[in-house]
């Protein structure tokens, strides 16, 4: 399935400065693997050393958090949008 991954501002430097990237994948896990294969530097910002998604990075398929779907096994349909939403704290 061709899906669009929206890259949040803090991570764009590691994704060739792009706001979004098109990847292929049947599940969220596959799509993110394709993304980090394309942009190696992104991997350590998204995943821990033992391959788990970092807890301060949330991933959504369209408007649903994958933690409340099937996590990285969440199935994708053509044209879905994956959003990566890291925790930010600025305010002063």
């Amino acid at each position: 399935m061709g899906v669009k991954v929206i890259i949040p501002t803090p991570l764009r430097a590691y994704a060739g400065k792009q706001e979004s990237v098109e990847v292929q994948g049947a599940t969220v896990g596959e799509a993110l693997t394709a993304l980090t294969a394309k942009f190696g530097d992104l991997k350590k910002h998204l995943y821990t050393e033992d391959g788990r998604l970092r807890s301060f990075v949330n991933v959504y398929v369209n408007d649903e958090d994958i933690r409340f779907l099937q996590k990285d096994q969440t199935g994708l349909r053509e044209g879905d949008t994956i959003s990566i939403i890291p925790s930010i704290a600025g305010g002063a």
């Binding site: 930010i88 704290a89 600025g90 002063a92």
Partner: protein, 397 residues
């Protein structure tokens, strides 16, 4: 999943606050002529008590619009002092306020805007020791903070006290806004169970921010606060509003309550406030900081050696747009590009690395040392210290 949030606005009100004076009716006429607000809504605003944590980028529009709207009691908490660099976005302050405690300047401005309301000033840092005692006096808590430990502290305190928490955060050109409200809604820990490791997400001082961004996000927080008080419209409970200023796009994502959330879930393990600096990994980081082990050269020493004609390679590891602001003639290789471009350096030469304040260049020196370079120095205090100690014509930024 619309939830009714009960914001208790019936306090033990004195006779005066249960009505509006003629002057107040005139002041708020533009509210009163709307059926959605009317006298009932304005009285709710008058009786409401809102705590604004922070009077900076987010706190400025927040304080201004809550005061303008007639929120009867506004608590301001901030321990900081107005700095010149704040004026680019912290619009509560003026040039004459530089050096003053923010709380003083903020209260003065808000009292001038609306002398009828009560402004509580708390010139203190919010801590695990004082948070519950401070928050309990208010109906609603609004987040104008700029760091993770305080956000988790405020969240946990709000969950323990049962207070709605209007959240807003920014980074460069993006913002997030939502309302965390029990019992139906999620809390901050449902959204982000853990913070990022320190240093991964830069602050506004380190990463920069377009000044108007907190203005937009803080104003949305003010709007949500007012809606919660008057009980009208659909609040952002269970909805994460994302704002991308460059694309000028708003998006909305669903926020769900996590049944296993340690703070607000079915089996709560957070029953009191914890050490948030430790939770956010800050104590650990401080203990391991390798910066002091990097060999340093002061700006005066570098100047003396350059004047003497020593063969020194000045390596500037800042970004190109910083080089344009000011430079001392160094060779520019941004820190991120150093791994790829280290081959441009001559290990037989003495290399003095510098950045803005000395932090990035310390990382550069550490990287080059591991790559086998030996004649390395970090310029202590960076180009800021060069400006202070050697050449004041070099602008600071």
């Amino acid at each position: 999943m619309a939830s009714k949030i009960e914001v208790p606005t019936k306090t033990v009100a004195a006779a005066t606050s249960a009505t509006l004076s003629n002057e107040e009716i005139l002041r708020y006429s533009r509210h009163l002529i709307m059926p959605e607000v009317g006298m009932e809504g304005q009285l709710k605003l008058k009786q409401a008590k809102v705590l604004c944590i922070g009077t900076g980028g987010l706190g400025a529009p927040l304080g201004l619009y809550l005061a303008a709207a007639g929120v009867g009691r506004i608590g301001l908490i901030d321990f900081d002092v107005v700095d010149f660099t704040n004026l680019q976005r912290q619009v509560l302050f003026g040039s004459g306020d530089v050096g003053k405690p923010k709380i003083e300047a903020a209260a003065s401005r808000l009292r001038d805007l609306n002398p009828d309301i009560r402004i509580d000033t708390l010139e203190t840092r919010l801590t695990r020791e004082n948070a519950l005692g401070i928050l309990k006096d208010y109906d609603l808590i609004v987040d104008g903070t700029d760091n993770f430990p305080t956000r988790y502290l405020v969240n946990d305190a709000c969950v323990l006290l049962g207070k709605p928490y209007v959240y807003g955060s920014i980074f460069r050109f993006e913002g997030q806004i939502t309302v965390f409200a029990e019992p139906d809604g999620p809390c901050y820990r449902c959204l982000y169970p853990e913070p990022p490791p320190p240093g991964l997400v830069p602050s506004c001082a380190e990463g920069g921010v377009l000044g108007v961004l907190p203005g937009i996000v803080g104003t949305i927080q003010a709007m949500e606060t007012l809606k919660l008080i008057i009980g009208k419209g659909q609040p952002l409970v269970g909805r994460l509003l994302l704002f991308d200023a460059l694309a000028m796009k708003f998006r909305e994502l669903k926020l769900r309550k996590n049944p296993e959330c340690p703070a607000c879930g079915e089996h709560r393990t957070i029953t009191h406030l914890i050490d948030y600096a430790e939770f956010c990994g800050i104590r650990g980081e401080e203990a391991e900081a390798p910066v002091t082990s990097v060999p340093e050269m002061t700006p005066k020493e570098l100047k003396a050696r350059l004047d003497r004609g020593d063969d020194i390679y000045v390596l500037d590891v800042r970004e190109p747009h910083e080089y344009q602001i000011c430079n001392i003639g160094g060779h520019l290789i941004p820190l991120g590009e150093l791994p790829l471009r280290a081959a441009e350096l001559d290990s037989s030469q003495e290399i003095v690395a510098h950045c803005r304040s000395g932090k990035r260049s310390a990382e550069a020196v550490e990287f080059l040392r591991k790559a086998g370079f030996r004649k390395l120095w970090n310029l202590k205090g960076g180009i800021l210290a060069w400006s202070d100690e050697v050449d004041p014509s070099v602008p600071k930024y």
